[in-house]
Assembly symmetry: C2
Homo-oligomer: 466 residues x 2
């Protein structure tokens, strides 16, 4: 009798457990037990939270208990004592130039360009260099928890190919410029290349093709408009440098008798697809106009400082709620692709410059590097926060290193003390591309070897006279 | 016959090898095969170099071959593909405050101090907190390759004890202030404590005791002079904050109708033993005076930025060849003890602020963090460069991480791309305190645990009303 009772109880339990189990939905990956900094509209932070991922999307976010009730997966990452954040978004770089990292520093912009960068580019930029430089940069991005980056360079099809192979998300545009480029000798050839490039990559799960006219001082009026038209035709982002340096302001004043933003507005270049890099020289009226049109802005504090370009009016842009993200610029100027340092610098630079320790808080700096960057790229419905329905671009950060101890406030800790080396795991489009600091889609040792060989050639090329 | 010939040749060889060996001098440690950035007066860089160390001193520096000819040691560190630099020197911090790292940010100085820092200090600073905070900070310093640091706080005898136990070099001074301090309720008690402290530690191989009157706006005129007299009496450094923030400038203008530096000069506080922290508000005449007297200056770029204190005239100070070093300030304000980021920031900040990309070169920034810091502390005959006769404070840095690839210029790479996490080995006073990123004199796990427990108490203490 007693045995029968125990048997029936056991059966009952198994049945209910089974029915409970059957009700649970299977997902491909669960991140479990970390502090989740969602960056959603409510700034929700979930302690002991979980994220359920199916294919390349986030299915659910919540407390570890609530997710465990509804979802199961054979693949789990335990994030206890770690912080789970949206992947960082780099809104401006020239990734193949990572090969030129540290080639020349502390020079006048003109000397830097004409004595080092232009000759180095003229003598070394080809598809092979672009591929090696891109892989080098991609490795650094992944190791620093950047999951989406924005690029404008040459041989961009090779950049896209490498980016897609490494499993990184990229908004990538072939640079269009009035001078002969390493791959396209005329602007029109460049434009044709860009159209072909867009057709090839449009719809790709990782690469978002873009059009990238270099800047209003290096691309003539008609050509700026032609580039914008191409962006409109295919509904792809338009990338350009804008209002970066005093020399540009002076050039456009001299030639057009206008301010840079005033000029591009007047000729109809400003568009809701534009991602404008730098935007150092913008007054309140211009900020208002950029906001109204929906232009995205990429703030590159370290590059602007190092090249003495100026200090962008970021407190004003934040106040105007502009689509505002952070970029590293190329490693040739800055000299890395580290968004953690850009966040830290952004928060500090504007306090110093505006003499107000309250501007650009840690929260705002972290916002710029995540959902702000997504808004700048016009991708805020897809990336930039950890929310159900968004793409699974997620980074898990160690929070227990000595330099992060003790821990009072999560945004402060992320912006002021966390380093790129604290990134533990990087997930892009649902796929783990780095785990426990080991790159899974790139051969780090080979990349370093190839980059070093190439760098020796670059040095040699700069020694020759022509 | 043939055998005899071979035997005699062998004997001859062994004898000569033995006599060669006998001629070699035994040392305690040889660092072999790295690129040595000596920071000596000739800026000598030795590729494939070696450093021979006996007891706590550098005996010889040269090419690996030349050192191998003259010295041998049973203890060797191979530094192939690595860079060997003088240990970094932090010229201003408040190390126990590492416990308050990130407790409050992005606030007005006044609000930050009165709502957070002062209450947190009043309710938590005791000898135990000072010891735990010091160990936490020391761990971070060693992990970042800082071998000498400068401190002013309370319970400084406990700071000195922990510093000496951890094997770190410190210029340490008990803070003297007009208000009741956690350990000494009156200024006179503080002064007595300071004298006792100096007597106890003077002559120690690691701890250099100092006198540390807080600042000209928190210590009255007579007391500043009394502090200076104590420094002169025992020939020890005099540490103080000076000309840091607009509020100080305003306070001294109001009360003394002078500029801060003008005031301390007039009352006879400036001395050749003074290490003045911040010195943001200094005009050309004042810089010239500091130079003439031999005052050391500690530049704290990140702290000055984050607290919106202002931007120090560093290009002018470099031009005047002032005794100029770098400091991190306390981790409560900045929020780490990372001199690599201070170097990087110093080089970039002054380019932005002076609108000149040539000022504060990588070379100058690295100089500030090494021999410049030694000069600021009046210790340039003992530390700050890798030269025979100097104390063996040496750091070995990895130079092959992905974010450091490729490698063109050593100073650029050190300042613009190397991170604290690239430090491989830290040697202080001839003793290895970190090897392959493992702390050898501190228990990292225990430190983190104790710091986290303490931090929870700090949070609780701020919730209570009194």
């Amino acid at each position: 009798m007693k045995r029968l009772f125990i048997l029936s109880i056991t059966l009952l339990f198994l049945c209910s457990a089974n029915s409970l189990y059957a009700k649970k939905k299977r997902v491909d990956l669960i991140i479990r037990g970390g502090t989740i900094v969602t960056m959603d509209a409510n700034w929700r932070i979930i302690k002991n939270g979980s994220v359920a991922i199916r294919k390349n999307k986030i299915v659910a976010v919540g407390t570890a208990r609530s997710i465990a009730r509804k979802y199961f997966s054979n693949r789990r990452i335990y994030a206890r004592n770690k912080v789970v954040i949206p992947g960082l978004i780099n809104t401006h770089t020239h990734i193949p130039m990572t090969i030129f990292r540290g080639i020349a520093d502390d020079l006048d912009l003109n000397e830097w360009l004409t004595k080092y960068i232009f000759p180095a580019e003229a003598r070394n930029v080809n598809e092979r260099m672009v591929r090696i430089g891109t892989r080098l940069g991609l490795g650094e991005l992944i190791r620093g928890g950047t999951t989406t980056y924005t690029d404008m360079y040459y041989f961009e099809d090779a950049v896209a190919d490498e980016t897609s192979k490494a499993g990184v998300r990229g908004v990538l545009g072939e640079t269009l410029i009035d001078f002969p480029a390493p791959d396209n000798k005329t602007f029109d050839d460049g434009l044709k290349y860009a159209e072909k490039f867009i057709k090839k990559w449009k719809g790709n799960s990782l690469v978002i093709p873009a059009v990238a006219p270099h800047a209003p001082y290096t691309v003539s009026q008609d050509r700026l408009i032609a580039a914008r038209a191409l962006s409109d035709k295919y509904e792809v982002p338009l990338l350009a440098h804008l209002a970066e340096a005093p020399s540009e302001v002076e050039f456009i004043r001299k030639n057009k008798n206008m301010r840079p933003i005033e000029y591009v507005a007047k000729i109809g270049f400003l568009s809701k697809r534009l991602v404008a890099a730098h935007v150092v020289y913008a007054n309140d009226k211009e900020i208002e106009m950029l906001k109204r049109i929906g232009v995205g802005v990429s703030h590159n504090p370290q590059s602007n400082m190092k090249l003495a370009a100026g200090v962008a009016p970021i407190p004003q842009m934040l106040k105007a709620n502009l689509r505002l993200g952070l970029g590293t610029d190329g490693a040739a100027s800055n000299n890395d692709l580290n968004l953690w340092e850009e966040m830290d610098t952004a928060a500090k630079l504007h306090k110093a410059f505006s003499k107000d320790p309250k501007v650009v808080s840690a929260k705002e700096a972290f916002q710029m590097a995540t959902i702000g960057g997504a808004r700048a790229l016009h991708l805020e419905d897809k990336i930039g926060s950890i929310e159900a329905g968004k793409l699974a671009d997620i980074v898990i950060v160690n929070f227990d290193s000595l330099h992060q101890t003790p821990f009072y406030n999560v945004y402060s800790q992320l912006v002021y003390t966390t380093k790129a080396s604290d990134v533990h795991t990087t997930i892009i489009n649902g796929k783990i591309v780095m785990r426990n600091r080991r790159l899974l889609t790139l051969n780090e040792r080979l990349i370093k070897k190839q980059a070093n060989v190439l760098a020796r050639k670059v040095v040699k090329s700069l020694r020759t006279k022509n």
